[in-house]
């Protein structure tokens, strides 16, 4: 036995110190074993990992062959295979541009962040969507995990700046701006996101001049961006309210105007405080990207759902859901751990 006597004693104290505790431990263990054994047998022991078609899969076990065969689709949707280097390249470029942000400090970091914000979003649309020298790929063909990340990031690019403006508007001394911000925030927070996605996909084409089309995917991203902006605004407001009034008063006593006070003094501190809350809103955004399913845009969950209709792979529900669910879980879990570590670190230096 590799466990040291000390840790053994700890476990005995945790699980078997009194008769009642022992009874609870045994009851829970029995339940867990009873539930987990058939699942493990299905998912691992009797599962088939290699092969080509459904016929290769043993009955009574998971058919992971299905995930292997469909892996490209789960990642890219119906994006043409010959063009998949483009989203890959964009992913690599983004990582290469963002990674130094964790190392650099001060002015260099700020400059890089601004450059990345200005260059990367249009670059991504061009690389993935094509045009100007690249073969055009319609948004209809986009899908899978790539699309989930695309929607989350681009909706976030709408939501964060708009949310900051709304939070500032809610604190403004101008009554009109305050009222407009409150109405905007409370309206979008009060309605279901599914309804907003329907709304965006139906109303955006209606209010544009005849002949001006708005891409299906762009509509969904705008809808999501507006709702999440309202939630982001509340997260930022928390940070603004947590700041002592003296910060803004001291800044204006030094002769700084509203935008200087906000941009140089209050907002940087408020954002640092709000970052965990904003990350949580971003997690909610990642989870809510799945709702584009209702307007037939096939993100990761949508692709998993639509793959169930393939007559060559009947009855792969569990495999598809488990695979997609695990990916969502990994993304959101990593983000929530990051958010928690920010919270534990707390606001630094003021």
């Amino acid at each position: 036995m590799s466990a040291t006597p000390g840790s053994l004693r700890l476990w005995r104290k945790r699980l078997f110190s009194t008769p009642a505790q022992t009874a609870i431990t045994l009851a829970i263990a029995a339940c867990v074993i009873w539930l987990l054994t058939p699942f493990m047998r299905w998912a691992l022991v009797n599962a088939t990992w290699t092969g080509e078609t459904r016929a290769d899969c043993a009955p009574g076990g998971a058919c992971w062959v299905f995930i292997r065969a469909r892996f490209g689709q789960f990642m890219y949707g119906f994006y043409p295979v010959a063009e998949r280097w483009r989203p890959n390249l964009f992913g690599l470029v983004s990582l290469a541009a963002i990674a130094p942000l964790f190392v650099l400090t001060g002015r260099a970091r700020l400059r890089l962040a601004i450059a990345a914000l200005l260059v990367l979003p249009p670059l991504g649309v061009w690389l993935i969507g094509g045009g100007y020298g690249l073969a055009a790929v319609e948004t209809r063909a986009w899908g899978g995990l790539m699309l989930t990340l695309f929607i989350a990031i681009y909706a976030g690019l709408i939501a964060v700046p708009l949310g900051i403006l709304l939070a500032l508007g809610r604190q403004s001394r101008l009554p009109l701006i305050r009222t407009l911000s409150v109405v905007f925030i409370e309206f979008w927070r009060g309605v279901p996101i599914i309804a907003v996605i329907f709304l965006a996909s139906l109303l955006l084409p209606l209010v544009m001049p005849a002949g001006v089309g708005v891409d299906r995917l762009a509509r969904a991203i705008i809808g999501l961006g507006l709702v999440i902006a309202a939630y982001m605004a509340e997260a930022v407001r928390g940070g603004l309210q947590a700041l002592p009034r003296g910060q803004a008063e001291a800044a204006s006593a030094l002769g700084l105007g509203y935008w200087q006070t906000t941009g140089l003094i209050t907002l940087p501190q408020a954002l640092r405080i709000s970052l965990p809350a904003m990350t949580n809103e971003f997690i909610a955004l990642v989870k809510n990207t799945t709702l584009v399913l209702v307007v037939s845009i096939l993100d990761l969950l949508g692709i998993a759902q639509s793959s169930l209709a393939d007559p060559a792979w009947v009855g792969m529900n569990m495999e598809a859901y488990l695979f997609a669910g695990t990916i969502y879980w990994l993304i959101c879990f990593a983000l929530s751990r990051w958010s928690r570590s920010l919270e534990a670190g707390g606001p630094k230096g003021h």
Binding site: P209, A324, C332
Partner: protein, 385 residues
């Protein structure tokens, strides 16, 4: 002169507000003109006349007695009641399950606490739509055929077409039973108020618990048993291939309810855990040193203070349940989004009116939930001078 105006803070405030309202009015006019032009081009009517047109849409599950020959307004009501129905039951069950998991999380038993923690981490990091689809296509679709239904006491049957329960025939005396129960609870409330006053004035104890047992447990049970016995029941019968009779709760409802409850319970559990751990340890210790028993400490010291922390986040969870009930649209649960914003909008094309009415439903019920919870919050808040 102009220079002084430019540097005058009030003038500048006014200037910016005028500029922003002008921009907003301009944008609105632009959108409205485009929309009316586009609607004329597409031949879409406007106004609310369509509500009185016959709907011709079948609804598989309704509490309002809606028939497909009824008008679109009736369809709207059928959708609204279904939304409210699934939301209320989900709120109730999610609160119960969430409290259990939250308390398990706080348990001194290591394994129990660890399993509750694992559940919370699992549920909170997965999209709700995943749960809805999983319960519907993964679990309910995998249940047995109607002929091999799982049954409980040969009265409740579960299969892949839904949950079949006994149905009360018309003229059932349940409203009377409900009235009796409401009366009993009101009486108990009065008794406990009087008992407090009597204790303060004379120092005499009143057997509140015993009276409560009679009024809140025995009377309701008796009323329900009486109502159940004096009504006719349409029991589901296991036929050769299908079940006959009974009231069928459609699989969409079961799946949506299961998804909402299991998902929301994870968030409620965290709120409960946070609320109870927010009560300072010194409070318990002080109460114990005053000689309060553990049950009394929980009831008079810990829970009242924990509630103050828990009510505001619980309000937003209830609002989330209301809004998240619209996820039923993804599996065609006939809620207001899927019936009205989906089917009725497809038939009539009157997007603006229908979207406005649907959003108004959520804003209206959201306001009601907020108002109720704020009223409750004000009642339990710290009384300050």
């Amino acid at each position: 002169m102009l220079r002084r105006l430019f540097y005058d803070a009030r003038m500048r405030d006014l200037f910016w507000q005028v500029v922003i309202s002008a921009a907003l009015v301009g944008l609105t006019v632009f959108f409205v003109r485009n929309a009316s032009q586009n609607m004329v081009n597409a031949g879409i009517a406007s106004g609310f006349d369509f509500l009185w047109r016959s709907a011709g849409i079948d609804v598989p599950f309704t509490l309002t007695g809606y028939k497909s020959s009824d008008n679109i307004l009736a369809l709207f009501w059928a959708g609204v009641t279904n939304t409210v129905f699934v939301s209320l039951i989900s709120m109730l069950l999610a609160t119960l399950l969430g409290f259990l998991i939250g308390l398990a999380r706080l348990s001194s038993h290591w394994l129990l606490s660890a399993i509750a923690g694992a559940y919370v981490e699992f549920v909170r990091n997965i999209p709700l739509l995943f749960f809805v689809l999983f319960w519907y296509f993964g679990v309910i679709a995998a249940l047995p055929q109607p002929r091999d239904s799982l049954s409980l006491f040969s009265a409740i049957f579960l299969n892949n077409r839904g949950l079949t329960v006994p149905a009360a025939t018309s003229g059932a005396p349940f409203p009377w039973a409900l009235a009796v129960i409401v009366l009993a609870f009101t009486a108990q409330w009065l008794v406990s108020r009087l008992a407090v006053r009597r204790k303060a004035e004379t120092g005499a104890d009143t057997p509140v618990l015993a009276i409560g047992l009679v009024l809140c447990v025995l009377v309701p049970i008796a009323a329900l048993v009486w109502a159940a016995r004096s009504t006719g029941w349409d029991m589901p019968q296991a036929g050769r291939f299908n079940l006959r009779g009974g009231f069928v709760i459609i699989p969409e409802f079961v799946a949506l309810l299961a998804a909402l409850v299991t998902y929301t319970a994870g968030f409620v559990a965290e709120i409960v855990r946070g609320g109870i751990s927010a009560v300072a340890k010194g409070q318990r210790e002080a109460a114990a040193s005053l000689g309060l028993k553990p049950g009394q400490i929980l009831r008079f010291v810990v829970i009242p203070q924990a509630m103050r922390v828990m009510v505001p986040p619980m309000t937003s969870q209830y609002l989330n349940v209301l809004k998240n009930s619209s996820f039923g649209a993804a599996i065609a649960y006939p809620d207001v989004v899927s019936l009205f914003m989906g089917s009725a909008l497809n038939d009539t094309g009157q997007a603006i009116e229908i979207i406005a009415m649907t959003l108004a439903v959520y804003l209206f019920f959201g306001l009601i939930v907020s108002a109720l919870m704020n009223w409750y919050n004000a009642r339990i808040a710290v009384v300050t001078r």
